[in-house]
Symmetry: C2
Subunit: 476 residues, 2 copies
């Protein structure tokens, strides 16, 4: 993959798909709207999964697996839910050589099949809370697809929890959006705004949807994870009641929450540059790549022996590294290749370095190249990786702050968001007015941040007084 990518400034969308392919994260498949996640992209997903799964388990959740095929009638039980998902369904009409009596839909999300099961499992308050998560594939027939961001089939996790009262269910949905925030910021080095969606933008079937919204490299917003407070909507649709502590029958309260392979798209667009990916150390498949440099077999043997003392040290410290021993390729080609793939640190090691007991260390995030002794490098490697992790986050946070404007009228909104950029504003409009703004400017209310100033101000659109502040942007 020695050839470069389209510069961001020339065509950001093209830059994105170039990076996806040249970094070998994913490839187009012969199936419309579906991608193949290649080993390097999947390794990234495995690291994301591993960390999230740990967080879910630490917060008391267990994993399970529910059928992918759902009777069509199930989706119709919750009116808003079917209205939201009907246009995107893929439908199995034939199986085992016969026409099915009732068509089956491939899950676009699993609330309906899961609540059909919860009816069997929940009888008493003693069965609650039920805190289940599922890692699964999902199909939503999208018209316009883009790799990782919006594909017909994608991978995700979906938490589905059941509770004995509204407060607990609400607490759960808030807890999980903060788990997502924590993961995005601490592991992906991606600052996010945590907020509530407006009525227009919430999940089909939810009472409230919470979201994490991130700013991409082109200053547009990407919804990166959502958590829903479902109230008793699905419990009523599937008749799931429980005997409460006062021995009364009551409908169960629910939350659901999910993140998907879209996070990989978020990662690419948060950190990437014209040389390709830049991966945060905590989830990078390789944290360090080592490129040996030599001209003949004697030099090779010397260099490789020296490298072995380094890799032994990295192994013992649990650093994920890769030694690039490909024979047919030049060091320069390898440098570009691993920059494209976003490996946080590159070690270049030749005869001269061996003689001096040195290593040449290249940082992908800020392109700094330093020469230090092997011993100094080995002693500080985990600290250096953490420094990069933090620095990437701070860098992106500063970038976001530079590109959020406080706006007070409609014209200012247009100016602040026209070429990307977030706008912060007071908002007292209706759902209809919100839709009108979107129609005219393609800008949407990304969320009502959970952190509000508490101050009162003038709605930028209606001129009404309000304390509600929102964040607006063009979004993916």
């Amino acid at each position: 993959m020695s050839k470069g990518v389209t510069p961001q400034s020339e065509n950001y969308a093209k830059w994105y798909t170039d990076v996806v392919q040249k970094a070998e994260l994913a490839d187009y498949s012969p199936v419309k709207g579906c991608m193949v996640i290649r080993p390097y992209g999947y390794a990234l997903w495995e690291n994301i999964q591993a960390e999230l799964d740990k967080m879910f388990k630490e917060t008391g959740h267990v994993n399970a697996y529910f059928p992918m095929l759902i009777p069509e009638g199930f989706l119709k039980k919750e009116a808003e839910h079917i209205e939201g998902f009907a246009p995107e369904l893929a439908i199995v009409t034939h199986a085992g050589g016969k026409k099915l009596e009732e068509p089956l839909v491939i899950r676009p999300t699993s609330e309906t099949i899961i609540w059909a099961m919860y009816k069997k499992w929940i009888n008493s308050y003693r069965d609650l809370p039920l805190l289940i998560n599922q890692w699964a594939n999902i199909v939503r027939w999208e018209m316009r697809t883009r790799m990782f961001l919006r594909t017909t089939e994608f991978l995700w996790q979906e938490g589905h929890t059941a509770h004995a009262n509204a407060e607990e269910a609400m607490e759960e949905s808030l807890k999980m959006v903060h788990v997502y925030q924590n993961f995005a910021e601490q592991y992906m080095a991606m600052p996010v705004i945590v907020g509530k969606k407006t009525e227009n933008e919430k999940f089909a079937g939810a009472i409230d949807t919470f979201t994490i919204e991130a700013m991409m490299g082109d200053k547009r917003a990407l919804q990166s994870g959502t958590s829903h407070y479902l109230g008793q909507n699905f419990a009523k649709a599937f008749d799931v009641t429980f005997q409460n502590e006062s021995n009364e029958k009551e409908y169960v309260y629910a939350s659901s929450w999910g993140v998907s392979t879209r996070l990989i798209g978020a990662l690419i667009m948060t950190h990437g540059d014209d040389k390709g990916l830049i991966l945060p150390p905590r989830i990078a498949p390789y944290q360090v790549v080592i490129v040996p440099i030599y001209r003949d077999n004697e030099a090779k043997s010397t260099v490789m022996t020296y490298i072995e003392t380094i890799t032994n040290e990295l192994k013992s410290q649990g650093v994920r590294f890769h030694l690039d021993t490909r024979e047919a390729l030049s060091p320069g080609y390898k440098f570009n290749d691993w920059e494209m793939k976003g490996v946080p640190l590159r070690l270049e090691i030749g005869l001269r370095d061996v003689e001096k007991g040195n290593v040449v260390v290249f940082r992908r995030d800020n392109a700094e190249k330093i020469i230090e002794t092997k011993d100094a490098f080995c002693a500080s490697i985990t600290r250096l990786l953490e420094t990069i992790q933090k620095s990437m986050f701070e860098n992106r946070k500063a970038f976001r702050e530079e590109n959020i404007s406080n706006i007070s009228n409609y014209d200012e909104l247009k100016i602040a968001t026209e070429f990307g950029g977030f706008a912060r504003a007071f908002w007292a409009g209706t759902d209809e007015e919100e839709k009108q703004i979107q129609k005219e400017t393609k800008v949407t209310i990304r969320c009502i941040p959970l952190e509000q100033s508490g101050k009162s101000g003038t709605c930028f659109y209606t001129g009404k007084q309000t304390t509600k502040q929102v964040v607006l942007a063009k979004a993916y």
Copy 2:
């Protein structure tokens, strides 16, 4: 789950489904032939996955993800492949509110979509070998289903490798069947016979299929994992060629291999008894369950403080344990519940044990109950778990050896296998004769074991001389 299960001797099939449900491994779903894998069953699958995934990576494989929906035409490209799978396909005809131009099938296995991609990725011998594995869900429309053993949708892994020559591809498929053997024997404590399938029984599209065959508690056979040498069949079907080292174009050689959630069925039937599951320590979700026994709050406080010193010790040793603090249930109920769930060790701890510094230890596999000091227990716990692991394997190996008969004529075959049991015999029959035996007796040739005596003998069916020995049995 205090009520027991149907005894094995009364109705083995009923015993099996009772255990699946009462141990809360899985539940029937409203979707025909599909099950829900419940958290306890899924935890088992996660442990199986984790160990296998480690083994795959140690043997040089990487994971990736390919689309679940495959154009119908792809399956038709390999003639035997479509013939084998056509009756079991689930077909998506409508999506996004429209009829599709070409129907899509839900993958019954992924050779076809993967080889369509390999055509894009493989050009030169330098691109080989390609060693990719996928964890995924699969749909095969089965007429008669049984939880874990045969369900319409199931979870599995499928390895798909591409090689520059036949020897390497064959070596790979043999290597992987031995990885499966290793996993079955070392982790599941399930002895298996490794062998080759006959022409009648091999995978649709393979040249050779290798299998691991295990003996269940009712002495019937269960095919527990398969590895296929595919030769150039799929490369030819999808026109996948490479430039070899002599600069000639050649078709690529292939293997594929897989195990599924069927392994959980194997586990249940290999070790289970009339009290429920018996799980081998290496993959048990909990290796130790602790049941505190007390009558009042004061006793409870004393007992729980004592238990904490034990759980701290277990934690530091990395032992997976569960402390059963459910208030509404009696110790006796809990004992039965955890025996049903097959937890290898149970600790019962009451006031008297605290006073003496003791623990009561119950072994699920052999129902031994011993009392020892807390310190002695903590000092020997990991050794004890390994002892159980080995003992379970030896026990099942002895059971299998008791139930394999060497037979020399057709009548002996019928007697040896009528109520379960394996038969070892010389075989020189044709495919047709093999089918005739199956028709008359329901017995199939499970495999031609890789380990052969090398001796010559008389075919039990045809009377011909041969050196080929086979293992026959009724199978799931």
